[in-house]
Symmetry: C2
Subunit: 336 residues, 2 copies
């Protein structure tokens, strides 16, 4: 008889703000890997804002989750049984798994992890999907040039913190919006941002931008939407580029959110606004991983993870994303 | 003593909808051209939606007009006195002049006009700024590919009617929004649009698009904004391109107009939205003029002008743009 396994399931579609009722923890036998598969003991699992989209009953870029499905997401862990020649017991890998103690991954779909390059949680953040999102979103959509002013919303998050640092490495002036003094201090004191605005204690974002970005905004990397974005759009310079990566301010709204119309603001600056999904860059992931790994190894690219302990707390860790609990990448530690 | 000249002046900044009080007709002596200048007897003058922007007291891509300034705009007319070797009396030219019987143009800034290629009004429309706007906006920003579905708002206007026809010449399915059955008939019966939607008699634009653009929208050329644009954004295909050329629905609104937030709609299709000003393509105007001229000469590109007679009616002609009086390019005939 196999040992047991705990796994989170999607129990109920949320209306508005999700809560713990949306999730259900079930216990079952530990799964067995088939040929070509790996049984992985999960060390860390990733909770990400995009998952809110999969909870909706509408088609989007990702298939909506069906109620009753296991919760899925990025994991990093140790191979404990291998059905593949590619990996053996004891190897560390990362891939798309389930919120569980043990998860089965297809050996063809995982990437190896070297715990000597960076801690395991980094493979869900700066060296994982968020880091690649920042890399391609900023460089390919934002096209930063030296001396450009780059503004980032959600700047202390997993993606935003990497965006700002790559912008600094690109020779830009960088301004971040974040939701606490601890976060803004981290941005300016540790990550080298030129300025950071605490959006929770600032009344007039436009005036704050006049101070922080006196030359206007050349690149805006938007993870958030809402009033921050409304203010940034009034400061766009000629030929400004806006990368729309996320709109977390709106994910829990029901119906179509409304706000200031932005199309009229695009004509005078001839600004370009573009939606971004990292999956489109799959053929270039190697390039990103190599460059991000070099920057991390050299210390030019710093990273931080907020670690929530215990698989049982995974839903809380996910819900915390919407109240901005995390600094850097939010991960759940499932096992030691 | 020189003959007299009538000229329109900007008399009052409008709040909301402009009216006749914004304009004042004055009479003065006919001006004399200095060295390098031409005195032109205006045959036709152009009224364009962008002029509403210049009436505002806020900096935009064009300097705001000062109250007391003469009304400026595109003109086509005949040289009656020349201070330049480049043109002589009797030549037809087009350039940026004033709303007047006679206007002085810098010979270096005008383009010659050949009345044998097309009627004079066409040089303010399909062969003028609106035609070039359509050409670069569609081809450079919209990047239409064969079998793409292209949707155009303001489709029976000076720019939109050219956009739709160039899209057809590019092998696309073309759908236009316009404000009367006469206009939609013109689009589908004369200009070759695949479908046209009368937005004044249609309740549900999204449902109308499901019929007219069943494969979704690959390129949206927006002259209008408002509810038409709101509907089109819900139908954007993967990698859709949106050229924001004009937003006439909002030009007479005071304050910042609000509406459905569109940034969240861009992520799933990775759509690109870009503001457009034709002046950015100045170095390539020759290319556009040559191609547009060829298409007009071959009959592949049709054009139509709505001619308002009499300089005294120029303000009415301008105001008529906001009620959609025009089919094709709205021009004022100043002299025979």
């Amino acid at each position: 008889m196999r040992d047991s396994n705990r796994e989170w399931y999607f129990a109920e579609r949320p209306e508005g703000e999700p809560d713990l009722d949306c999730f259900e923890l079930r216990e079952s036998d530990r799964p067995e890997p088939r040929h070509g598969e790996l049984l992985v003991r999960v060390r860390y699992l990733s909770v990400d804002p995009y998952m809110r989209g999969r909870m909706r009953d509408t088609e989007s870029y990702a298939e909506p989750w069906e109620v009753g499905d296991p919760m899925k997401g990025g994991v990093v862990g140790e191979v404990v049984e291998s059905g593949s020649d590619r990996y053996e017991e004891g190897d560390f890998v990362t891939g798309e798994g389930t919120w569980a103690d043990y998860t089965v991954l297809d050996a063809a779909d995982v990437a190896p992890v070297d715990p000597d390059v960076a801690g395991l949680p980094a493979y869900l953040g700066v060296l994982g999907m968020p880091g690649r999102t920042a890399y391609f979103g900023l460089l390919d959509v934002g096209e930063p040039k030296p001396d450009d002013t780059v503004v980032v919303s959600g700047a202390a998050g997993a993606v935003g913190s990497v965006v700002g640092q790559i912008a600094k490495l690109s020779g830009c002036r960088v301004v971040g919006f974040a939701g606490s003094d601890e976060k803004t201090d981290w941005l300016t004191e540790d990550l080298g941002f030129d300025a950071a605005i605490n959006y929770k204690t600032t009344d007039d974002y436009a005036a704050a931008l006049d101070d922080a970005a006196p030359e206007g905004v050349d690149v805006y990397f938007d993870n958030v939407g809402g009033p921050i974005t409304d203010a940034v759009f009034t400061k766009l310079n000629l030929d400004a580029r806006v990368a729309v990566c996320g709109q977390i301010a709106h994910y829990n709204e029901e119906g179509v959110p409304t706000g200031p119309r932005k199309l009229p603001m695009l004509i005078a600056p001839r600004a370009k606004v573009q939606g971004l999904l990292v999956g489109d860059y799959a053929t270039r992931f190697g390039e990103a991983s190599e460059q991000l790994g070099k920057w991390v190894a050299s210390g030019e690219l710093k990273h931080r993870e907020t670690i929530v302990e215990g698989l049982e707390n995974a839903p809380d860790a996910f819900l915390g994303l919407f109240s901005g609990d995390n600094i850097g990448k939010q991960v759940v530690q499932v096992s030691e």
